[in-house]
């Protein structure tokens, strides 16, 4: 048995039974398939995380994000004090992660692409877009740029899903997606 040395000292010369061999071959091929599936999706799939990222000084990142928000601000989110920023389709969109907020609120148009910039000013945070369920890690000192295309309109929330301190559970943000051509129009449904 498995607790004793093999009875046959030349155990490596024993042939393998057919059923066992079949399973090994199936399992190996399945592994190969799953491996190439990831590569296939890079070529044909539409959901691949961008590798584009840069080292960045948090202060520099914040300054750029604030200047950008000033330029494209269209109002405030209810009485929360958060600016709502509507960047032009195809343009840059910044989100600043810091304990314990995602800043600012974005307003995007359905079907348009945006270059979304993500970085943290302090510790690691988890960008979790709900209920879409897209989850991306955010590091301090690294600026990650992802081209995203919202395909449904509505109000979406950003939850922090990387533990970042004792206020982790109040760290939320918001992305509004409006119908094409309505960017910059009056804010739908204040608050939420």
């Amino acid at each position: 048995m498995a607790l004793q040395s093999p009875e046959n000292r030349l155990w490596w010369r024993e042939p393998i039974a057919r059923g066992e061999l079949m399973w090994i071959i199936i399992a190996f091929l399945w592994g190969l398939f799953m491996f190439f599936m990831m590569i296939y999706w890079h070529l044909e799939g539409k959901q691949n995380l961008s590798p584009e990222s840069y080292r960045v000084d948090p202060e520099n990142y914040l300054a750029r994000a604030e200047a950008w928000a000033e330029k494209y601000k269209i109002g405030e989110e209810g009485d929360t004090g958060y600016p709502v920023v509507a960047p032009p389709p195809g343009g840059d969109a910044y989100i600043v992660a810091r304990t314990f907020e995602w800043w600012p609120v974005l307003q995007l148009e359905r079907g348009q692409s945006y270059r979304l910039h993500l970085s943290s000013l302090d510790v690691q945070h988890g960008f979790s877009l709900q209920p879409v369920n897209m989850n991306i890690q955010v590091h301090p000192g690294l600026e990650h740029i992802i081209t995203i295309t919202p395909i449904e309109s509505g109000v979406f929330s950003i939850v922090c899903n990387e533990y970042c301190g004792l206020g982790h559970h109040v760290m939320t943000g918001r992305i509004r997606v409006v119908e094409p051509g309505q960017g910059g129009a009056a804010l739908p449904g204040q608050g939420g």
Partner: protein, 582 residues
């Protein structure tokens, strides 16, 4: 000579004292036996602590109960991870290493004094880290991602614990050398020892990764180093964090073979195949720090794909092989015992009343179905974006580490108690039900966390209703249901876990002494050999091809594989509906 001690094997003036085991006939080095006991006892103590903390976590996640306040929740969650994932499991694994070397190879343990030093370091380290967490200034979670900073004692405790574990590995390797030198066994080492060697090799790699990152982080917490890069920390830390879970896989697969061997006389179908599967672990399981870095900035897709798939899923191949050969060896043994009717008589008539067997078989099934399939899906580069840092992640690793490793170790305990502690398990009826309570409870915990994670619920999160957040949000109502069910199954698992601790402690203290007369009875019900029928002869000895016929195993493996493939493609379907990104 049954329980008498005698002096054997005098080398370089060191006298080792042995007794011989009345059940297995193995020679047991008394120094090894004492160390196995000490490590096993420490393991159970930390399981009890970590288990209670885990129950508190689950009861806080249950929205209707929401037991702890936020600060306590995060503190308790940090301590839960450390106590069960590190301290319980590694103490038990050190016991397994000493068993698989000294006991199985009929050998004296190398340098017992050094082994005790390692044990003391592990105990001191575990206590120091726990103390640091209880102070409240080290609530950084098990992963302690920089730049979150814990107190220096948090890291120092982990470092001491790791050094102690490393000494344990060194003693294990030393014992293998002695066994070879003194020719205490014939031919190759047993398969179980081979599995333990796999675990120990991975452990050395793991502990080295831990040292590389935890020592600078400790110095950083003391102020001697100005900056630790958050991404580099994470990459190296997971060289420890994920690889250490591969020690568990290797160890509990070895335990599966050991329990099946002891209770049923099961032999590996093919020594060559089973050993190759372990060897694949050694070669490829160390990869996989990428599992936690798939949605990280700045790492290339090529590296992610190669690392997350363990090269070409070659380590997964190892597990898929064990997943067939372990039930296959049980079926072959049972058919040899005469249970040859139909496809599943061998399984129906297995010793389900023996807690060692039921724990082992549930561990095998749950590890494969819950932990294994979810792990491969979670570790697929693009699919990870739907699950990263959601409750899917703890759902997956409770499937592997709780229903897999912990349940297997619980099963082994029911054999360690009579054979090493030489005490008969008290309250056999309770012991019979214990693995079912714990196994089903833990499987429920895993499944409902997987479900909540699929709905997007964040892990390590105190309040999923976001009642204090400025920008409000609420998860789908089904998520609340999932977390309620998670709480109920956590209670079930906690009852099972508490029974395990109570039965073990009571047996060690008050169990009836085991000697050669009652030794066989003390290991619990085992299948009786029924009359030889014609077809039972069709089951050959291990390794001889073409003779054995294992229809039951083929049915089980086909069902498993179909579920795996289906679930894999369902997730790609979900992914294709996500917002396009590049």
């Amino acid at each position: 000579m049954a329980t008498a001690t005698g002096e054997v094997g005098v080398i370089a003036g060191i006298a080792a004292r042995f007794r011989s085991c009345p059940v297995t006939g193995l020679k047991v080095d008394l120094a090894a036996e004492r160390l196995i006991k000490a490590n096993a006892v420490a393991a159970v103590v930390f399981l009890a602590i970590g288990g209670i903390l885990g129950l508190l976590v689950a009861l806080t996640r249950w929205p209707a109960v929401h037991l702890l306040d936020a600060d306590s929740f995060y503190l308790v969650l940090t301590a839960h991870g450390l106590n069960v994932l590190l301290f319980w499991i590694i103490f038990f694994e050190i016991a397994v290493l000493y068993f698989a070397s000294a006991v199985l190879l009929n050998c004296r343990l190398a340098t017992p004094q050094l082994a005790w030093l390692g044990f003391v370091l592990m105990v001191v380290g575990a206590l120091l880290t726990n103390w640091a967490v209880l102070q409240g200034d080290s609530t950084v979670m098990f992963t302690s991602y920089v730049p979150l900073k814990a107190s220096p004692n948090f890291y120092l405790g982990l470092i001491l614990f790791a050094v102690g574990a490393l000494i344990g590995c060194a003693v294990f390797f030393g014992t293998l050398v002695i066994a070879r030198e003194e020719r205490t066994y014939e031919g190759s080492v047993p398969l179980v020892t081979f599995g333990a060697i796999t675990a120990a090799i991975i452990a050395v790699f793991t502990i080295a990764s831990g040292a590389i990152i935890l020592i600078p982080t400790w110095l950083w917490s003391l102020g001697y180093i100005a900056h630790i890069d958050s991404l580099m920390y994470k990459l190296v830390w997971w060289g420890m964090g994920h690889s250490s879970q591969q020690i568990n896989v290797s160890a509990h697969v070895a335990v599966w073979y050991a329990i099946a061997g002891l209770l049923l006389g099961a032999k590996p179908l093919s020594e060559k195949v089973s050993r190759t599967a372990f060897f694949l672990y050694i070669l490829f399981l160390q990869l996989a720090c990428a599992h936690h870095l798939l949605v990280e900035p700045s790492l290339s897709a090529e590296w992610k794909v190669f690392n997350t798939s363990y090269a070409l899923y070659l380590a997964v191949l190892g597990s898929l092989i064990h997943g067939m050969t372990v039930p296959g060896s049980i079926e072959a043994a049972q058919r040899r015992n005469g249970y040859t009717r139909g496809i599943f008589e061998w399984l129906r008539k297995a010793p389900w009343a023996n807690p060692a067997f039921s724990a082992m078989f549930m561990s095998l099934v749950f590890f494969g179905v819950i932990g294994g399939i979810s792990g491969v899906v979670l570790g697929t580069e693009q699919l990870n974006i739907m699950m990263h840092n959601t409750l899917y992640v703890p759902g997956h690793f409770h499937g592997t580490v709780v229903t897999g490793t912990t349940l297997a170790f619980m099963g082994l305990t029911y054999l360690v108690l009579p054979l090493i502690f030489r005490r008969r398990v008290v309250w056999p009826t309770l012991a019979k039900w214990q693995p079912y309570l714990f196994g089903i409870g833990a499987a429920g915990i895993s499944l409902f966390m997987l479900g909540a994670g699929t709905l997007g619920v964040s892990r390590r999160h105190w309040d999923i209703t976001f009642s204090d957040a400025l920008l409000t949000f609420d998860y789908a109502p089904a998520a609340h249901l999932m977390l309620g069910l998670n709480g109920i199954f956590a209670i079930l698992a906690a009852v099972g876990g508490a029974l395990y601790v109570i039965i073990t402690v009571a047996t060690v203290l008050f169990g009836e002494k085991v000697d050669e007369k009652n030794a066989l009875a003390a290991i619990g019900p085992i299948p009786t050999r029924v009359a030889e029928t014609g077809s039972s002869k069709n089951v050959a000895e291990h390794g001889s091809e073409g003779l054995f016929h294992l229809p039951g195993t083929y049915v089980l493996i086909t069902v498993f594989f179909a579920a795996f493939v289906l679930y894999y493609f369902v997730n790609w379907k979900y992914l294709s509906e996500l917002w396009p990104m590049s």
